[in-house]
């Protein structure tokens, strides 16, 4: 008797423990599903928001890069124009000298004029006159390798044109001049510093960069807020559709979505899906029973 009582008690305790375990599992599962649902709701607006913001930010960076490139080009062209004015001025002095028979090396006013120009324009690193004969009158510091390069430029540039080139540190302009017989006699050379231009365009790049940061910060806040507002309700509806789909197989009767979900037509489609899936599973279960298959052999859900 005592043994039977003990056994019943043990069985009762076991039942309670098993029930508690089942309840815990169900609760844990519910909590899990709930947090998963919330996570999914969060995923949609975050991902869409991030993608859209990323693309717009890319467009803004592209706009700034192109604007900067245009600015840089304009700035360089203005500098070129200014130095061309100076070259023209020097060429005029030179041709005036040639008109009265003074070659550049004999023109005593040339070198002081060059020195004065260098003094007034601090961005110019070298001013010179390269003659067809190979003689060079000039002032300033200039890397030796450019001298050889100038000869080549001088040969292929027409008397009424100019050449414009550069290296990592300088921009170089060559302006051919003509003698009394209107024949190309040499070229005026002006080499000016790149660093001042780089500094000015660098400043602009920084300003434009700051603008991009400012605009993007505003954009991120507004876009993410907008996407959240637009997709929040939709995410919830998606989550409820998900639950309906999940219940299509296990529940005694398929769960039904309310007709207003996603404008009704999707709700009807999902309800049809759940009903049909439920019906197929019922048919399959009956066939499994007819074949005498235990339910767990017929493939559980994954």
């Amino acid at each position: 008797m005592h043994f039977r009582c003990m056994s019943t008690l043990r069985h009762f305790v076991n039942c309670i423990i098993t029930s508690c375990q089942k309840l815990m599992n169900v609760l844990a599962n519910d909590i899990n599903i709930q947090s998963r649902t919330q996570r999914r709701e969060g995923v949609l607006w975050r991902r869409i928001g991030a993608l859209l913001t990323f693309i717009i930010a890319l467009a803004l960076i592209l706009i700034s890069f192109l604007n900067y490139s245009n600015y840089r080009k304009n700035y360089q062209e203005l500098n070129l124009t200014r130095h061309l004015v100076l070259s023209k001025n020097l060429r005029q002095n030179l041709e005036t000298g040639l008109n009265i028979g003074l070659n550049p090396e004999e023109n005593v006013r040339l070198l002081p004029a060059i020195k004065e120009m260098l003094h007034r324009h601090t961005d110019i690193r070298y001013i010179g006159v390269a003659q067809e004969s190979g003689a060079l009158v000039g002032e300033g510091d200039i890397p030796a390798y450019t001298l050889a390069g100038w000869r080549a430029w001088q040969n292929k540039t027409n008397a009424d044109a100019y050449w414009y080139t550069g290296d990592s540190q300088t921009f170089q302009i060559g302006f051919p001049y003509v003698n009394n017989f209107n024949v190309k006699a040499g070229a005026v050379l002006i080499v000016y510093d790149k660093s001042a231009i780089e500094r000015a365009t660098g400043d602009m790049a920084r300003k434009l960069g700051q603008d991009v940061l400012l605009t993007t910060s505003l954009l991120v806040a507004l876009t993410l807020g907008g996407v959240y507002a637009l997709t929040h309700k939709f995410s919830r509806q998606l989550a409820s559709i998900g639950n309906t789909i999940d219940g299509a197989l296990d529940a005694a009767a398929p769960a039904k979505l309310e007709v207003h979900v996603l404008n009704g037509d999707v709700a009807q489609d999902i309800n049809d899906f759940a009903a049909l899936s439920h019906a197929v599973v019922r048919d399959l279960v009956e066939l499994e029973r007819a074949l005498g298959l235990p339910e767990h052999e017929s493939g559980g859900r994954t």
Binding site: V43, L44, R47, L51, L52, I55, I56, A59, L60, L62, I63, S64, L66, N67, S69, N70, Y71, K73, N74, Y75, L78, R82, V85, R109, A113, E116, A200, L208, D211, V212, T215, L219, L222, T223, L230, T231, G242, L249, L262, N263, V266, D269, I270, D272, F273, L276, S277, V280, V281, D283, L284, E286, L287, E288, A290, L291, L293, S298, G299, R301
Partner: protein, 680 residues
């Protein structure tokens, strides 16, 4: 769901436009502050050199007020620097000594106002309608006078305005690119999962459990896919377990009876449903056109590098050769490309086309001689042609007949958006990267377009490309014998191309130069055509699909093109030309997209027989005749009657062809039996 997509598109477009406008406005403000002082430095340099000359004379003992020839010298300086409106030299007491251009000015700044500006340093300030730069003349430590150099404020404003046009161009181009990319992303987050889920649910409603939904990388709407797939997988597993168990004959009979209304997939299979949405091909196509157009603005200069006198032909001919070869190969490749696209499927042929284009572009960047370049440009054209035709074929195959005009308009607007953005950005990029690196970047973008197709363009297993016969001369004969096909091609498509190449590409750049416009203005004015197509054609085509009667749209487009030519004939100016180009864009937005849709509608039998891709290829090849004829006709007319005569002539060609087109189709309407007989 469509509502959500529309709202997201609206939100994103608004954000993009607002932030781009804000950024451009900020940039413009910086430029307006930074550039005018730099412009003034040029004027100051002129002032400096004038001051230097005067100082030398002063050092020789010539007083400032007795310098003979000073007036002539100032005139010469002003002639050399046309940006300077006046030069005025005043002495220390404020009395004018010499001037150039100042007295002739009606709106000249008063001496008092200029006097206020006199400081000890070079300074620039706005005086009336001028920016005046004052250069103090300090000779031998004595202030003897001031030199004032004036630049028209309007000129400075015009230069700043030029920069603002550049900023607006950049804004438009970057927005076009971003909008294309946004459309692509939103399609994959919302439209595609919606379309494919609809298809999936429709199949299930018919009892078909044999397909799965694709994995959703972005976890948008498609987050339901995994759950729906789980249900389908579960049902299929149970069904397959039953099949494996076998059982007696009567059980098999019962199973067959019970499950007769359902379809399941075979064991070990995992068939996935895909949806063919037009926007899937739109971004890769845009990217490829964009990539190839990057080199448009500098390609003639790039080709010029390969020229040498030993070639014995004119440099202009050499520069034109690779462009002509490209166009020629592109046109010739079209029918074969169309046939191949029909046989191999859109995915394969696009990837192959983009790969060939990539290889062609890489080799173009590495070309060592003109002959290499010609070969590699031909290769690039082959790939480009294949992608061009494949996209059109995909568009017409994956669109319901009721939406065909709209989808062709989308194709057209994507093509122009890519081409316009590419050519605008290419010039800027080549300034920074150099020609070869920009072409290599084109190759990279072309490869990226193939990667996009590889990753995103899928076809359903049951909609595989149907193998067709090889292209034959008979296909051309079949199509050309079809009176409706011939009428659309020769009376609508070719005249439209004649107007495009003869007027827009050939005459407009020359004429704008003649009117005194620079290259930037020319580029910007010509952009009006592309913009009209990009923004108008989808709307007009939507209307055309709704109303039907596509041939009336073709006719209206033809008449509008003729009207565009008459506009410039009547209003001979840059503004008139801008109006004319815009009207031509509108005309083509109305009339060009319905052409291919009209062929598909009116020539169904022959399209079915020849194949949609092949028909598109042959149509585009014949249409290219217009491209060839356009510049020739325009050239002859310009030589004989001048530009205005040429515009009138092209307008008359459009008018006559459109009138015949309208009459022919009215005749077809009244004699349908003859039209049918003609088709047969």
């Amino acid at each position: 769901m469509r509502q959500l997509q529309t709202r997201l598109v609206l939100l994103t477009t608004t954000m993009l436009v607002l932030s781009a406008l804000l950024l451009s406005w900020l940039a413009l403000r910086h430029f307006e502050q930074a550039l005018p002082p730099e412009m003034a430095r040029t004027v100051a340099a002129v002032g400096d050199s004038v001051s230097e000359v005067l100082e030398k004379a002063h050092e020789h003992g010539v007083p400032l007020d007795e310098m003979v020839g000073a007036q002539e010298y100032l005139n010469t300086v002003r002639e050399d620097n046309p940006g300077i409106a006046y030069i005025l030299l005043i002495d220390a007491s404020g009395q004018p000594l010499y001037e150039s251009g100042y007295d002739a000015l009606g709106d000249r700044p008063s001496l008092e106002r200029l006097g206020e500006q006199t400081t000890t340093d070079i300074s620039t300030g706005k005086t009336g309608a001028y920016f005046s730069t004052s250069v103090p003349l300090v000779f031998q430590s004595n202030r003897v006078g001031t030199l004032h150099l004036g630049q028209r404020a309007a000129l400075v404003k015009q230069q700043v305005q030029e920069i603002s046009y550049d900023v607006v161009t950049v804004l438009v181009v970057a927005s076009l690119i971003a909008l294309e990319l946004l459309r692509f992303v939103l399609t994959f987050v919302i439209a595609t999962p919606v379309a494919v889920t609809r298809d999936f649910l429709a199949r299930v409603r018919k009892g078909d459990f044999s397909h799965y939904l694709p994995f959703d990388h972005l976890s948008g709407i498609g987050q339901l896919s995994a759950r729906l797939n789980r249900v389908v997988a579960h049902i299929n597993r149970r069904y397959q377990a039953l099949q494996e168990q076998g059982g007696a004959e009567h059980f098999k009979h019962m199973m067959k009876q019970r499950l007769s209304g359902y379809r399941f997939h075979a064991p070990g299979r995992h068939p996935i449903l895909f949806s063919a949405v037009l926007d899937h091909i739109r971004w890769p196509f845009f990217l490829l056109i964009f990539a190839d157009s990057l080199s448009l603005s500098f390609f003639p200069i790039f080709v010029g590098q390969f020229y040498s006198l030993e070639m014995g032909i004119s440099k202009n001919i050499v520069i034109g050769l690779p462009i002509s070869i490209f166009m020629f190969t592109w046109a010739l490749s079209m029918p074969w490309a169309g046939m191949w696209s029909d046989r191999a499927g859109h995915r394969k042929s696009f990837i192959l086309g983009a790969t060939i284009t990539t290889v062609g572009l890489v080799l173009t960047a590495c070309a060592q001689s003109l002959y290499d370049l010609l070969l590699w440009r031909s290769l690039t054209a082959l790939g480009y042609g294949l992608v061009f035709i494949t996209t059109q074929s995909y568009v017409s195959n994956n669109t319901a007949p009721t939406h065909r005009t709209r989808s062709m308009a989308i194709f057209l607007s994507t093509f122009f958006a890519g081409s316009l953005s590419g050519s605008a950005i290419g010039g800027i990029l080549s300034d920074r990267l150099g020609y070869n690196s920009t072409i290599l970047l084109s190759a990279l973008l072309s490869a990226a377009s193939a990667m996009f197709i590889l990753g995103f363009l899928r076809t359903n297993p049951d909609s595989d490309a149907t193998p067709r016969r090889k292209l034959s001369f008979n296909d051309f004969k079949l199509l050309l014998r079809n009176k409706k096909f011939s009428a659309i091609t020769f009376l609508a498509a070719i005249p439209a191309k004649i107007a495009l190449t003869g007027f827009l590409y050939y005459s407009v750049p020359l004429y704008l130069k003649l009117l005194g416009n620079n290259q930037s203005t020319t580029g910007r004015v010509m952009m009006a055509y592309g913009l009209a197509i990009i923004f108008l054609s989808p709307f007009v085509a939507k209307m055309a699909d709704k109303i039907g009667r596509l041939r009336w749209f073709v006719a209206i487009g033809g008449y509008a093109a003729a009207a565009a030519m008459f506009v410039i004939y009547c209003f001979d100016s840059t503004i008139g030309l801008l109006a004319s180009i815009t009207l031509l864009g509108i005309a083509h937005a109305i009339g060009v997209s319905p052409q291919l849709a009209l062929i598909n509608d009116l020539c169904k039998e022959v399209v079915q027989e020849v194949g949609s891709g092949t028909v598109t290829g042959i149509f585009r090849l014949i249409e290219r005749l217009g491209n060839v004829l356009g510049p020739i006709i325009a050239g002859i007319l310009i030589a004989q009657f001048g530009f205005n005569g040429a515009f009138l002539g092209i307008g008359i060609v459009s008018l006559v062809c459109t009138t015949i087109f309208t009459a022919v189709f009215l005749w077809f309407d009244r004699h349908p039996s003859r039209a049918v007989a003609a088709v047969a």
